[in-house]
Subunit: 484 residues, 2 copies
C-alpha cells in the first residue's frame, strides 16, 4: 500500500475550519440584535477557528491533489471530529455551556444532526448561541448530503452505490470536480428548501429567528428547537409545515433534483420513495386507529396529526416532538421505538439504517425461503426493477449486523455506566440512529444532562458512528487500515 497523503488531509480540514469560522460570524447579527454588547462569544470563537483553519491550510498548501480511498475515510471521520471540537468554542467562551464534555456532546449532536441535548432550559440561552446550535445541524446536513450521494457510493460503503442514483448530467471522471459539481447542485436545493420553510413558518406566525432556526434543523433532520416544548405549542399550520419539510428532508435529494426539473416519473420509479411514502402513511393510519380504539380524548384531526408528526419525525430521525409518545396509551410507544430502527431514505439528511436497506433485507429474506425449497435455482432480489448483485446484498447484511451488534454493545456499556435498562436502550438507539429523543429517561420531554460524563462521550461516539454509516469510522480502527 502507498503512503497516506496526510498533507491533503490537513489541507482539506484547514479549509473546512475556515468555512466553519465564517459561519460562526453569521450569528453575530442575532447576538447584537438580541443581546447588545453582551455576546462576544461568537466573534472570538470565529476568529480562533478561522485563524486555526488558516494556519493549517497554509502549512499544508501545495499538497498533491491525490485523494485515495484511505485518505477519504480519514478526511470524513477526522473532519467531523475536529469541526465538532472547534464548534464547542461558542458555548464555552460565551459561558453558556462551560463544561467541555457537555459542550462537545451538544456540538457533535449538532453536526451529526442528532438533536440530543444536554440543555435543560433552552429559552434562557442567548439567541446568538441558539443560532449557532441550529446552524451546526444545518451544516452537518450539508455535509451528509454530499457524503451520502457523492462520496460514500464511490467508496462502496454499505451498499450505498445501489441506492443513490447518479446525479444526472455530471460528467467529469475525476473525483474532485465531480464531488464539487454534485455538491453545488444539491446544496442549492437544500438552501432553497430552507428558504421556503422559513417563509412558510413566518407566514404561520413564527418570529424570523424561530423560523430560520427551525428551518435549519428540519432540513438537516436534526431536531434542535429554540423552544422548550419543541413543536408542541405551535399552531396546526406550523406543525403541518414542519411535517412536510421533515418528510422532504428524509427523501433522497437526487429525487428533489428530478422534481425541480419536472421529471416526476423518475421519482415514482424510485422504489425506496414509494415504500417511504406508503410506509409513513400506513403506519400513521395504524397508530391513529389504535389510538382512537384505546380512547383518545382529542379530535380525530389532532390524533392523526400527532401520530403523523411523531411517525415522520422518528422515521426521518429528526426528533422534533409534538406529543410525548411515552405517554401514548398501551403499546403505542413501543411502535415508535421500533420506528427508531428504520431511518430515512438513502441520500437524504436522515440517519439510521435507511429504508432502502430494510427493503433489500426483507426481500432477501423472502427469497431465501424460496432458495431453501429450490437450492439450485438462482433467484435474484430485485430493486428498482433490476436484479441486485449478491455482493451488494452482502454489504447491506453486514451493515445491518454490525449496526445491531453496536446497538447491543452500546446498550450494555450504558448499563455499565449506570443507566437503567430502558434509558440504556433509548439513549443508544437515539444517538446511534441520530434521532435525539429516545425512551426511558431520555424520552421526548427529557434531556441528556443527567448522564455521567463517560456516558456522554460514549454516546458522542455512537452519534459519529451512526452518522458516518459505521464503516467510515470503524475502518480507521482496524489494524489492517494502517498496515504498510
Amino acid at each position: 500500500m502507498s503512503k497516506i497523503n496526510f498533507k491533503i488531509i490537513l489541507n482539506i480540514i484547514g479549509f473546512l475550519l475556515i468555512l466553519e469560522g465564517c459561519f460562526m460570524f453569521t450569528g453575530v447579527p442575532f447576538s447584537l440584535y438580541y443581546c447588545g454588547n453582551k455576546c462576544y462569544g461568537l466573534i472570538i470563537s470565529g476568529l480562533i477557528t478561522l485563524v486555526s483553519g488558516g494556519i493549517l491550510w497554509f502549512f499544508a498548501r501545495g499538497a498533491q491533489k491525490i485523494i485515495g480511498r484511505r485518505e477519504g475515510y480519514i478526511i470524513v471521520s477526522l473532519s467531523w471530529i475536529i469541526i465538532s471540537l472547534f464548534g464547542t468554542l461558542p458555548y464555552i467562551i460565551s459561558g453558556t455551556i462551560p463544561d467541555f464534555t457537555n459542550a462537545f456532546f451538544e456540538t457533535i449532536s449538532g453536526f451529526t444532526t442528532t438533536g440530543a441535548s444536554i440543555l435543560t432550559d433552552i429559552e434562557v440561552i442567548p439567541k446568538g448561541i441558539l443560532y449557532w446550535r441550529s446552524i451546526t445541524q444545518w451544516l452537518g446536513g450539508m455535509g451528509i448530503i454530499v457524503l451520502s450521494i457523492a462520496i460514500l457510493p464511490l467508496l462502496g460503503i454499505g451498499g450505498m452505490q445501489l441506492f443513490v442514483a447518479e446525479m444526472p448530467g455530471i460528467t467529469p471522471d475525476k473525483l474532485h470536480p465531480r464531488i464539487t459539481q454534485t455538491a453545488k447542485r444539491l446544496w442549492m436545493i437544500y438552501i432553497f428548501f430552507t428558504f421556503i420553510e422559513t417563509m412558510l413558518l413566518m407566514l404561520g406566525g413564527m418570529s424570523f429567528f424561530d423560523s430560520i432556526n427551525h428551518a435549519f434543523t428540519t432540513m438537516a433532520t436534526g431536531g434542535f428547537s429554540t423552544q422548550n416544548a419543541s413543536i408542541a405549542n405551535n399552531s396546526i399550520f406550523i406543525q403541518y409545515v414542519i411535517i412536510i419539510f421533515m418528510f422532504l428532508a428524509g427523501t433522497n435529494f437526487t429525487l428533489h433534483y428530478f422534481a425541480l426539473h419536472l421529471k416526476f416519473r423518475n421519482i415514482w420509479k424510485n422504489e425506496e420513495f414509494r415504500y417511504y411514502f406508503f410506509f409513513s402513511l400506513g403506519i400513521t393510519l395504524l397508530v391513529s386507529v389504535i389510538w382512537v380504539i384505546y380512547g383518545n380524548s382529542g379530535t380525530i384531526e389532532k390524533t392523526f396529526r400527532d401520530a403523523l408528526f411523531q411517525v415522520v419525525s422518528i422515521t426521518t430521525t429528526t426528533g422534533f416532538v409534538s406529543s410525548d409518545y411515552l405517554f401514548w396509551p398501551g403499546f403505542l410507544w413501543f411502535f415508535i421505538f421500533l420506528l427508531m430502527f428504520i431511518g430515512g431514505s438513502a441520500g437524504s439528511t436522515g440517519g439510521g439504517i435507511k429504508i432502502a436497506r430494510h427493503i433489500l433485507l426483507l426481500k432477501n429474506s423472502a427469497v431465501e425461503l424460496k432458495r431453501s425449497i429450490h437450492p439450485h435455482a438462482i433467484i435474484p432480489v430485485k430493486f428498482n426493477g433490476k436484479a441486485v448483485p449478491q455482493d451488494i446484498i452482502f454489504k447491506v447484511m453486514a451493515f445491518f449486523l454490525i449496526y445491531i451488534t453496536i446497538f447491543f454493545t452500546g446498550t450494555f456499556v450504558m448499563t455499565i455506566v449506570g443507566l437503567d435498562f430502558e434509558s440504556a436502550i433509548g439513549s443508544t438507539i437515539a444517538t446511534l440512529g441520530n434521532i435525539g429523543p429516545g425512551i426511558g429517561k431520555v424520552g421526548p420531554v427529557d434531556n441528556y444532562a443527567w448522564i455521567p460524563n463517560i456516558g456522554k462521550w460514549i454516546l458522542s461516539f455512537l452519534m459519529l458512528l451512526g452518522r458516518l454509516e459505521l464503516f467510515t469510522v470503524l475502518i480507521i480502527f482496524s489494524g489492517y487500515f494502517w498496515k504498510k
Copy 2:
C-alpha cells in the same frame, strides 16, 4: 413441482405417535410407586396416543418411500406440533393441568426443550406426571440431535451443512438408511450420558427419581426441574455435575462420538468447540470478577460457581437456575440477557442462534472492513481452517436477520398482549431461544402462568420457530411452498 407425498408424512407421524404412546407407559411405574392407584392419567393417555398413532400408521401404510425436500419440511414441523398435542393428554386427563392452553404450552415447552413453565408449585404435581414432563424434554432432545446433524444439513438450512461435520463411517447414499445409522449412534451417546449423569446425581445424594428427571432435562438442555427452587438448594457437588453435563449437552454430538473413539485431536480442531470452551470460561471469569468488585457477600468459590452455572445454563439454553441473576448487582443481569442471544453449539441439543453462526458473522464483519479498503480483493472468511463459500455466509446472515426480526416482532406483539417492556423482551427471547427463564416478570424464579392465553399461544409458536431453526417452519407458511 411434483405432488407432495402426504401418505409418507402421515405414515411417519403415525409411527412417531406409537413411540410417544410407548414412552407414556414408561412413567407408569413411578405413578404406581408414588401415588398408588390415583394416577391412571398416563395409562389412558398412552392408550389413546398409541391407538391414534396405530390407526394413522395403518391407513398410511404402503406409502412410497420417497421423501423429498418439501415432505421433509412438513414432517419436521407437523410432527413437533402433533406430538405436542398428544403430549398434553397426561396433564389434562390426570387433571394436573386441566386447561388446554396451559397444557399445550407446558408440553411444547417440553418437546422444544425450552423449559418455560406455567406451573406455580412443581412439588405438588404427581410424580408420574412430573416424569412425563421431564421425558418430553428428553425425547425432544433426541429429535433435535437427529434433526440438526442428519436432516437439516441435507436440507441446507441456515448454514448447518458447514457446522456439522459428517458422522464418520456412515456410507449409504440414500436419505433414509443414512439418517437411521446416524441417529442410532448419536442416541447411544445421548443415552449413555443420561445414564452417567443419573448415577453421578445419585452419588451426590439425590433420589433416583430426581436424578433421572434432572439427567433427562440436562441432556436435552431443557431445564425442567422437579424442585421449585430449580438447582439452587442442591449440594455443591450436584451443581458442578449439572454444570458439566449442561456443557456436554451444549456440545456438538459428533464431537462426543470422536471423544468416545479417543480421537481428541478432531475435537480440538473444531473451531466452534474452542470458542465455546474459552467463551464460557472467559465470560464466567469476567462475571465473577465484576461481581466480587461490586461486593459479593459469598465466598469466591460460591461466586464463581453461581457465575459459571448461569453462564453455562443460559448459553447452552438449558435454563436451570442456581441463583436469581435478576438480583445480581449492577448491570450483570444484562450480561446474562445478552448471553440469551448466543445459543449452544450446532449439532447439540442447545437452541438459540448457535455459536458457530456468531463466529462466522463476527469474522465476516471484520473481513468486510478489509473489503471496504480493497474492494477488488477476494478475502474469504475461514472456518475450521477452510475458506467458507459465500453462499453459506449469506445463509447464516439471512438466518440472523430473520431471527432478530422475529425477536423484535415477537416483543412488539407481546406488548400488544399487555406485557410490560422487560417481560415482553424476556418472554420472547426465552421462548424463541428455547431457554426458559427470561427477564422481567418471566425471570428465573417466576413462571409463565400469568400470561394471557393468546400470549401463551404466541410464545408456543416462538418455541417451535426457534427450535426448528426458523426456516423449517417459515417455509411452510410461504405461498411459494404450496404452488404447483
